[in-house]
Symmetry: C2
Subunit: 473 residues, 2 copies
């Protein structure tokens, strides 16, 4: 656990004690108390529920005021109408942080709900309590044993995510887990009555555990502060931002979701240009960009060497590269001459894309003997491997094993390559081939290779990180 002193959010991510106001008596795995216990939270947990004396094996209290020991952090898992009373109890107790998980505030668009949010905020402000939410999932910090989802990985990682949406926060953690990208800290901050994206960004800028930051934003309340926080972060690490609501349709949806004023597209275009933050349009793209940032060697070169089975797939891959802002030029004469020696099949292209031949055995052979040649080519900067599993006859009992062997060959060679490397593994939706791809992907990821679900997603992410590295120095 890396401690970054001095920032007021540090203790919120690593609290010494947590009160669960409205703790469920069911001891369900998805309840706050049982979840924190199971996730390995090491601090004190105080269930609060007037209807119970014990919850999940811990003493339960009628109110936060009744807890005998100090409470640093409180989570409000109660209907909105009870939150003002709970906040007063927290003030009386000297609680420092409140996460209002409850919804039913300004996001409803109802006047009385908006007023209630203002009252909750006023109480917090007057007493020095920092308020997270309302209407949000809260914090995930595996190194502290903190989580809002019982299935999140306990493994800590290098990426932080600041999200106005709880569902998108869940999606990114699982999208990340599935490609071996883990998180240092995730904050779902909802209505942002008090704590807002800039607070988290400023904190994360100096968080040594965090090597890259992602952000899901619908609206920004204080533009200059947001810009300044993003810029501060960017002096230390890359920031990927999914700005939702940039279209008329999305803007209307956002107004109804988090009551956000999403802002005009030209303003945000200027923001990205001015700050150097990396823009993304979907959560899948965010996950892809994060993977590229973490696993692909920094590069400003846009010339891609493409290798894989299937001449037509190579042609389409070349088109996709160029549409994504990259180029697939011909290899040097020397490279082509050398490739001819290791590509046994007549008719297989060696111009770039180069076609690996003779089944998955041919792919393995190419990774061992062909990749070093491509790596030495002077006309290209990045290597993109595509493996279309369906092209290999597929659905045979030994497919997973053969794909795995090819992955082993690529994983073995990858660390010795000078050029940045990315792989695209894809298949139709047949469960056998999907599981084969999954197993192969795990091997590659373990070897540090960035693995994408298609040439389109790979090139889109590569283009974004090349843009980023071209700007940062």
């Amino acid at each position: 656990m890396v401690i970054t002193p001095h920032h007021f959010l540090e203790n919120m991510f690593y609290p010494e004690s947590i009160a669960i106001v409205g703790a469920s008596t069911s001891d369900s795995e998805s309840g706050w108390v049982r979840r924190l216990i199971n996730f390995g939270y090491k601090g004190k947990i105080y269930p609060v529920n007037p209807k119970a004396t014990e919850i999940s094996g811990l003493p339960s209290y009628p109110s936060v005021r009744d807890i005998p020991d100090p409470v640093e952090y409180a989570i409000f898992n109660i209907p909105a109408r009870f939150t003002l009373q709970a906040m007063n109890d927290c003030i009386a107790k000297g609680v420092k942080y409140v996460h209002c998980f409850a919804a039913g505030f300004s996001e409803t668009g109802l006047d009385e709900a908006r007023v209630m949010e203002q009252q909750l905020l006023a109480l917090a402000k007057a007493s020095g309590i920092r308020l997270l939410g309302p209407n949000c999932m809260g914090l995930y910090c595996p190194s502290a044993g903190l989580t809002f989802n019982q299935d999140f990985p306990k493994e800590s990682g290098q990426v932080a995510f600041v999200s106005q949406s709880g569902a998108e926060a869940m999606r990114l953690v699982f999208l990340g887990q599935d490609v071996g990208i883990y998180f240092s800290k995730v904050a779902s901050y909802g209505n942002a009555a008090d704590l807002d994206a800039p607070d988290f960004l400023e904190y994360l800028a100096d968080d040594e555990e965090t090597k890259a930051v992602a952000c899901y934003i619908e609206g920004v309340k204080n533009g200059p502060r947001f810009v300044s926080a993003v810029k501060k972060c960017l002096t230390k690490k890359p920031v990927v931002i999914l700005k939702a609501g940039l279209t008329e349709s999305g803007s209307g949806a956002a107004a109804s979701h988090t009551a956000s004023l999403t802002g005009a597209k030209p303003v945000w275009d200027a923001f990205f240009k001015q700050t150097g933050a990396i823009p993304a349009n979907t959560m899948d793209e965010v996950a892809d960009i994060l993977q590229a940032l973490i696993r692909v060697k920094p590069t400003r070169g846009r010339r891609v060497a493409v290798a894989g089975r299937g001449g037509g797939i190579g042609v389409v891959a070349a088109d996709i590269c160029e549409r994504a802002g990259l180029k697939v030029p011909a290899f040097s004469k020397e490279t082509r001459d050398r490739l001819l020696e290791v590509i046994p099949e007549a008719g297989a292209s060696i111009r770039n894309p180069v076609e690996t031949t003779a089944g998955l055995g041919g792919a393995s052979l190419f990774y061992r003997r062909g990749l070093p040649i491509v790596d030495a080519d002077t006309e290209t900067d990045i290597i993109l491997i595509h493996i279309a599993v369906d092209v290999y006859g597929t659905h045979t009992p030994d497919l997973a094993q053969k794909v795995g062997e090819a992955a082993d060959a690529l994983a073995e060679k990858a660390p010795s390559l000078r050029k940045p490397l990315a792989a695209a593994l894809f298949t139709g939706g047949h469960p056998d081939t999907i599981l084969a791809v999954h197993a192969a992907r795990e091997k590659l990821i373990k070897a540090g290779v960035a693995v994408f679900s298609g040439v389109e997603s790979a090139t889109r992410a590569l283009n974004k990180i090349i843009d980023y590295y071209s700007r940062v120095e």
Copy 2:
């Protein structure tokens, strides 16, 4: 089996007898002889191999000339240098169609190989033999028991595919199979020395088994003939074309793959505008468009009603819709009032997108009670359901069952809806959630619901078919 008389290709897709020149003695499942037997080809199969007297239980002949009975169709599974002799044997025997599977001809870029292809073609032309290839996978026609891949489905379907690339042909068949899209006929035609895309398109225009045609093209030899064949097809059925090599990178790759002159992008832009063919950029997009053509009710309306779990996911979905050329306007006042009655959760949006609440049970409830309300809305034309499986806590043992129950509810309601319907089911790459999605998808597909792997792919396909229906009226 639907017989379309008079077109010369009919007998090639339904040949009465096939000689395999260069039949493998191994009786392997991936060999031509065993494959045709296993796939249920009902005509006569004549293995030709001078080194064997019996192959896969059938008598083998030293040459096509030695076969005692008439031979309609011959497949050359021999090195290129032996093909001229084999062609002479076929001429002597009175063979009508030759599929030259062998590669090593003009696609190599070598003069001697190009000359050999010309000689092969000249022999065929002089004798009236129609030549498929060289350098291609050949024909797949499940209703005739014809296939070039032992794992292709035996089930016949409504889509035909004409492909210059064999690997892309394999990809599309498997991509299709996985979403329940099956094929009437597939032709991988490679170098197109003789039979070319227009031959197949003209044939398929009148093929009653075929309701939609897809095409993978790198280069076109006779532009006017191609345009005329596409137009003929389009008077009867939709034609989706993946034109590869439209970028500089792709064009260079295509030259090396099939020696194709890919043509300038403005020319192809004009072609699509003039003919009304549906353009696609990747094979995944082709599969998506085919599914939309077959399962989504024809519509020219671009106003999408979006429903699913996760407010932020809804906002991003609305942005994606608009970027794809669609709109997500607010529901009518009446619709919103009625939705309020079936959406129990405070803070859930009912503007459009509408958020289904309370877990997968809430999703099922919405499909039963909310969908009819959305279906009656006057401000929207199409319904798009998104199910982000990861948002539902995920990875629990009963996830697959719960997702399946939600799919059942949607499948049950879908047939009663007036509006066109599409569903996007997606998840991170965790095998449990993937298999849950796979099972749910099968239920929906069985009920005739179009199921896509994401909002982006769904809206891209919807936009393309709306364009198409807007043109054809």
